[in-house]
């Protein structure tokens, strides 16, 4: 039940599709999802390849709980070498693609090579076909999904828009219109392969050896641990709830991270979004249903998520909710990552206002703001530069000290000066600045732990990274607040052997260290784990974080402690002893 035992390997250069056995040993050591996709890529990719060349591979990986009746088990890992950062890149996408892939009989799809012409891949149980996507090329992901559904009937599709076709380092992959594998330019990997979409339909299902026992156990867990006080925020409000928490604690990125509070936050917070919410949407097997269909004026979209609000509203000085929703819709259709897009536009706004370079857009300029998704995705006018991300802009025009990125990936929606462990989480995230590898703001800025000290932070971030590595490998949705012990209990049921929390922590550590080894092989060292100068030098000026920064010497101490606890050397390299301990 946990694994189908089959991997589908599709070579776009030759047009061949073959199945092979899943590597059982690796599945035991890395579970699935994030961990197993990174293992395949580590073993199969040559070091130093161009991520946009045909040598890169795109891995779609399910996990052992995928497609089962385990709650919140509908996610898929999508992995490759990142076009944005050159690091390992794994994204997580919701909806219903992952269970359909499992029902079609596959744990994973590995896509290699490059097609001569635009194609889409159709997986219909054992039937695997590459079909022409010539008439879809140049169209958005939304129209592409509709065109494919018109032709194939009931299928689940992951597609790219123009941003992916044009190889943008901030292009994403979309499914069910509004769910994304968002970061690191994963959409450009598909674009570079002339792969417009992947559609799947599965009819084989999964069989539990004892469905009564499994069902009874999971019903108990669902009652005790899913629809609880810890999780109800996802149902009642979804991620926009976080706007108020970030505002109050002074970590809401505002005007390119110049401030940590936004005077007009109440125009874009959860209450404002709820006022225009028309319906809810859930991913596969999810009782939390965090998705919201909203409608205002002429715009209809599922969203916006907190990250979109933080980066595209407060960080761009835009308080017009309708404009944010329309921007969200455009990004989803073109397949632009709203975190990187919002961060980059905000940088251009500051550059313009400071007179360093005139990008023709200033904070709060709604009209220009709404032109950006199209200009960036099609690389037209000022969008040609902006489409390459904040690091590119800083290299070309200056402003490096306030280019808010780590490893060329734009920083998401939590201000590190008001949550020091978030700074460490960004610095040590395997794919560049990311809040999903560890999200210590929840217990620090939003919790009881002092945000302005380095004490205990290295251990906190490591524990969270290990836990999340397990979550993203199993694959549980990140919005389910479940303990390692609970994950072990569920995996014991699904894998039909005793799985302990200790074993899972070791797997999490192994996954994280393998990602580090991948990056190490690509030349990444301690020097790449630093934060933008603004975080160390510019004091915030408003709210709970007024006067705060994260001093560089404190950050360096925290980073050294992190390496030591991880079993990495002072330069951030995984030591021989650590490799041996984790069987790496």
């Amino acid at each position: 039940m946990a694994y189908t035992g089959k991997v589908l390997r599709v070579n776009l250069s030759t047009g061949k599709a073959e199945t092979e056995a899943l590597n059982d040993k690796w599945a035991k050591e890395y579970l699935g999802g994030k961990g197993l996709s990174i293992k395949y890529l580590y073993e199969e990719l040559e070091p130093g390849i161009d991520p946009l060349s045909e040598k890169n591979k795109l891995v779609l990986m399910t996990g052992p709980i995928t497609g089962t009746i385990v709650p919140n088990s509908g996610k898929l890992a999508v992995a490759a070498k990142s076009p944005a950062t050159g690091t390992i890149l794994d994204c997580s996408i919701g909806g219903h693609f992952a269970p359909q892939l499992k029902y079609a009989g596959y744990d994973a799809v590995i896509i290699e090579g490059k097609s001569n012409i635009p194609v889409y891949l159709f997986i219909d149980d054992d039937r695997v076909e590459l079909r022409s996507a010539a008439d879809m090329w140049g169209k958005g992901a939304h129209e592409t999904e509709h065109m494919i559904s018109d032709r194939l009937g009931e299928v689940v599709t992951m597609a790219i828009g123009q941003a992916g076709e044009n190889l943008l380092p901030m292009s994403c992959i979309s499914t069910e219109l509004y769910r994304q594998a968002g970061r690191g330019g994963i959409g450009a990997v598909m674009g570079s392969k002339n792969l417009k979409a992947v559609s799947v339909r599965g009819s084989k299902g999964l069989k539990a050896p004892d469905i009564r026992k499994l069902s009874a156990a999971l019903n108990k867990i669902k009652k005790e641990d899913t629809l609880t006080e810890d999780n109800m925020w996802a149902y009642s409000d979804g991620t926009p709830m976080i706007v108020d928490l970030s505002q109050q604690t002074g970590i809401l990125p505002t005007r390119n991270f110049q401030e940590g509070t936004f005077d007009e936050f109440e125009k874009v917070n959860s209450e404002a979004v709820k006022a225009v919410t028309k319906a809810k949407k859930a991913c596969f097997a999810c009782p939390l249903a965090c998705g919201k269909y909203v409608e205002t004026g002429t715009t209809r979209v599922e969203g916006p998520e907190y990250e979109t609000i933080a980066l595209c509203s407060s960080n761009c000085g835009i308080s017009d909710l309708e404009a944010v929703l329309e921007f969200n819709r455009l990004c989803d259709d073109y397949c632009l990552d709203t975190i990187s897009a919002g961060n980059t536009i905000a940088f251009a706004m500051e550059m313009t206002e400071k007179g360093i370079h005139d990008f023709g857009i200033r904070f709060g300029d709604v009209e220009k703001f709404l032109q950006m998704p199209e200009l960036m995705s099609n690389k037209e006018g000022v969008g040609a530069d902006l489409s390459q991300g904040v690091s590119y802009l800083a290299d070309k025009y200056g402003g490096k000290e306030f280019a808010m990125q780590v490893k060329k990936l734009e920083i998401p929606g939590y201000e590190a000066r008001g949550s020091w462990s978030m700074g460490l989480a960004y610095g040590t995230a395997d794919r560049g600045a990311c809040h999903l590898r560890a999200w210590p703001a929840a217990v620090e800025a939003f919790g009881d732990i002092d945000p302005f000290t380095i004490e205990g932070k290295a251990e906190l971030v490591i524990d969270m990274q290990n836990d999340n590595s397990v979550k993203f490998s199993a694959i549980f949705c990140d919005f389910w607040a479940l303990s390692t012990e609970r994950m072990a209990e569920i995996l014991s049921l699904i894998l039909e052997r005793e799985v302990t929390a200790e074993e899972l922590t070791t797997i999490g550590d192994r996954v994280y260290c393998l990602a580090r080894l991948f990056n190490e092989r690509e030349g990444f060292t301690r020097k790449d784990d630093g934060l933008p100068e603004r975080i160390h030098k510019d004091e915030l000026t408003t709210g709970a974080t007024k006067g705060k920064l994260l001093p560089k010497d404190e950050y360096d101490k925290m980073l050294s402690e992190y390496y030591k606890i991880r079993g990495w050397d002072e330069d951030g390299k995984v030591t021989a002893d650590k490799k041996a301990a984790l069987n790496l």
Partner: protein, 77 residues
Amino acid sequence: MTVKLQLKGPLKKYANNKDLVEVKLEATPCTLAELLQQFNIPASAISFITVNEQKKGLDAALNGGEAIVMYPRVAGG
């Protein structure tokens, strides 16, 4: 003595879905923990609480007149 209590997001259900209520304290001083009990709000549902815009622990004392905001627990990011 009374305090103004604002409940965010899912916490509103503990006050009949009102987001702002005037609360009469049963005794003064009273702690935030006791205020939670008065509304049957489990501590596990809370991220943090502010009293007059300042984050405070559950042992913080209330003497009346304060503006209290309770923020719900969130996960994921």
